[in-house]
């Protein structure tokens, strides 16, 4: 049984309330941080722990915090990125709904560490209950003196505002989140400058994912060395893996980084459902590349998944069985990026739209043999050329599916229908 760190006590009844949370180590880390450490020492501790961002990019958290300039004429802010919208990902929602105080305690300690006096929790609009849980936790914390002026007599002040989004995947991109929080359309900003230098209202801003922040209290309570004793050399600690798709037991599973994909899918997920075979896996949310079944033993850490040809990403592991038409699945994934593209830059706005048109044509049986190369060419014109990572994300499953399952695309062109799945038929003739 894996040691639970960020999801410890998640099943204790009432753990989402202040009293029960306090009875289970709640806010002990905050007390320890305020009483025993200087802010800079907390930053060093988080650096030493090896904690890396859990939203998708995996940037070292302590290092990100240390990028804030020592002097700035504008106030500093911290934003908790709770805009969880990456298909296949559902861990942050669980943390906010079931452990809102742990998330909040992480926000408070991290704000203390980075000399921030006003923090925002940007919750995507569709997560109404999660937003209410965070609001209630904030209210309870104010009443108990964990927020506001002179927290626990330390002299440290912090205000927290829970901010509700209104439906936009792009607002999970940190610079678009800032635009949205400033009351504008969620168009990404040019980077550099990065939010650490010029962020919210132009001031130095820390932006971290919900799970990243929720990991800070356990690190403070039990120490950086203890946290770093889990995981691999470059991917320390544990993380929540979100298992979904064609498995018997989909759900959130907190496991040490480096756990093999097979262990997650078979031991925890109960294996591929309906007695079927594994066809493909997306390891880190739909913005990451497909892996074939030969990669089932890949350790789930940043380096190993990258070496296998994909990314650890958001931890959203999506499993596809052998009755899945890959072309239809990629069409569905691509519709997401077309719908969520903010429209600011031409490669992404036009490219995502065009790719869906081509995939629709291929799936419907009107595709041309040149369509696959055209798709790859469109992806090449988006990747690295779009204004923000959403464009790149839109290309991942398209290029990797053409690479791994080209014969399935060619089958659609040749016969006019799917090779497998509910719309597969025997071809009427064997000639093209």
């Amino acid at each position: 049984m894996a040691e639970l760190i960020v999801t410890k006590y998640i099943d204790v009844p009432g753990i989402d309330t202040l009293d029960v949370y306090r009875a289970h180590d709640g806010y002990k880390a905050l007390e320890k941080a305020l009483r025993e450490y200087q802010p800079e020492q907390i930053v060093e501790m988080v650096k030493k722990s090896g904690l890396r961002g859990r939203g998708g990019a995996g940037f070292p958290t302590g290092m990100k915090w240390s990028f804030l300039p020592k002097d700035s004429s504008r106030p500093r802010y911290l934003c908790c990125n709770a805009d969880e919208s990456e298909p296949g990902t559902f861990k942050d929602r669980m943390l906010m709904e079931k452990l809102p105080h742990r998330v909040l305690e992480g926000v408070i300690i991290s704000s203390f560490a980075t000399h921030v006096h006003h923090a925002f929790i940007y919750v995507r609009g569709e997560l109404a209950f999660a937003g209410r849980q965070m609001e209630r936790a904030v209210s309870e914390a104010y009443n108990a003196g964990y927020l506001g002026k002179n927290i626990l007599g330390s002299g440290y002040d912090l205000e927290v505002t829970v901010h509700r989004g209104a439906g936009a995947y792009i607002c999970g991109e940190e610079s678009a989140l800032l635009e949205s929080l400033e009351g504008k359309r969620g168009y990404p900003r040019l980077k550099p400058p990065f939010p650490a230098t010029i962020g919210l209202y132009g001031g130095p801003t820390v932006i971290n994912n919900v799970e990243t922040l929720a990991t800070v209290p356990p690190i403070v309570l039990s120490g950086a060395e203890w946290y770093a004793s889990f995981g691999t050399e470059k991917s320390k600690g544990t993380r929540i893996f979100c298992l979904s798709g064609h498995v018997n037991r989909p759900g959130n599973y907190e496991l040490p980084l480096g756990t093999p994909l097979r262990v997650l899918i078979e031991d925890y997920g109960g294996g591929v459902w309906k007695g079927r075979q594994l066809k493909a896996i997306i390891p880190g949310g739909s913005s990451t590349f497909f892996l074939g079944p030969d990669k089932i033993d890949v350790p789930l850490d940043f380096e190993s998944v990258a070496a296998a040809g994909s990314m650890l990403g958001s931890g959203g592991v999506i499993v596809f069985d052998d009755q899945t038409c890959i072309v239809d699945a990629v069409l569905r994934i691509s519709e997401f990026y077309r719908d969520e593209s903010c429209g600011k830059c031409t490669p992404c706005r036009e490219g995502t739209f065009w790719m869906v048109q081509l995939l629709e044509r291929l799936e419907a049986g009107h595709g041309k043999s040149s369509d696959m190369d055209l798709l790859v060419d469109i992806c090449d014109n988006i990747s690295g050329k779009a204004f923000c990572p959403l464009g790149d994300a839109a290309t991942s499953t398209v290029v990797s599916s053409i690479k791994l399952f080209r014969e399935e695309y060619e089958f659609h062109v040749r016969t006019g229908h799917c090779m497998v799945g509910p719309r597969a038929r025997q071809p009427a003739t064997t000639t093209a």
Binding site: H118, A166, Y169
Partner: protein, 164 residues
């Protein structure tokens, strides 16, 4: 009708931020709660409270997918159709719902009770397929569960947006 109480809530929202304009999204949510969709009166109210031009408020309202441009039903059903729900049969459930409600996706029933929409990933992939009714989750869907849900909702008294 944007009530005085709603305007007060908008002012309270402004007070939570260092810059008034940051209350734009919360204020638009208040309009939608009051009117059921983003009305012209609502846009003007937000503009006045925030200190922005109505055009600017309109531009924000049209960017975010949760704000409706026209009236919606008493119960807005959003069915997730992203990849993990697709893999667990959301398309068949959506077709079933269309038959049950007698409307295609994107439409509202003639009696104004139900609006049926598709939506992108709702962060509930572990309990797929899922839908939301007025932003509250109904998970681990089956056709039986969907039928029971519609029957339950049909038993509720009909209200208009303003009375909610």
């Amino acid at each position: 009708m944007i009530s005085q109480e709603a305007k007060q809530r908008m002012h309270a929202a402004v007070a939570r931020y260092p810059v008034a304009r940051s209350a734009m999204l919360p204020a638009l949510h208040i309009v939608q709660e009051e009117e059921g969709f983003i009305t012209e009166e609502g846009i003007n109210a937000v503009a006045e409270v925030i200190g922005a031009k109505p055009d600017e408020v309109q531009s924000i309202a049209t960017f975010y997918s949760m704000y409706f441009k026209k009236p919606a039903g008493q119960y807005v059903i959003k069915v997730c159709t992203s990849i993990s729900c697709y893999l667990r049969g959301c398309d068949q459930l959506l077709e079933h719902l269309e038959k049950r409600l007698g409307i295609p996706r994107g439409q509202t029933t003639p009696d104004g009770q139900f609006t049926l929409l598709t939506t992108e990933c709702l962060a509930s992939c572990g309990t797929a397929p899922v839908l939301q009714v007025n932003n509250e989750f109904v998970e681990d869907l089956t056709t039986d569960k969907v039928d029971a849900l519609i029957a339950e909702l049909r038993r509720q008294p009909a209200t208009t947006a303003q009375e909610c």
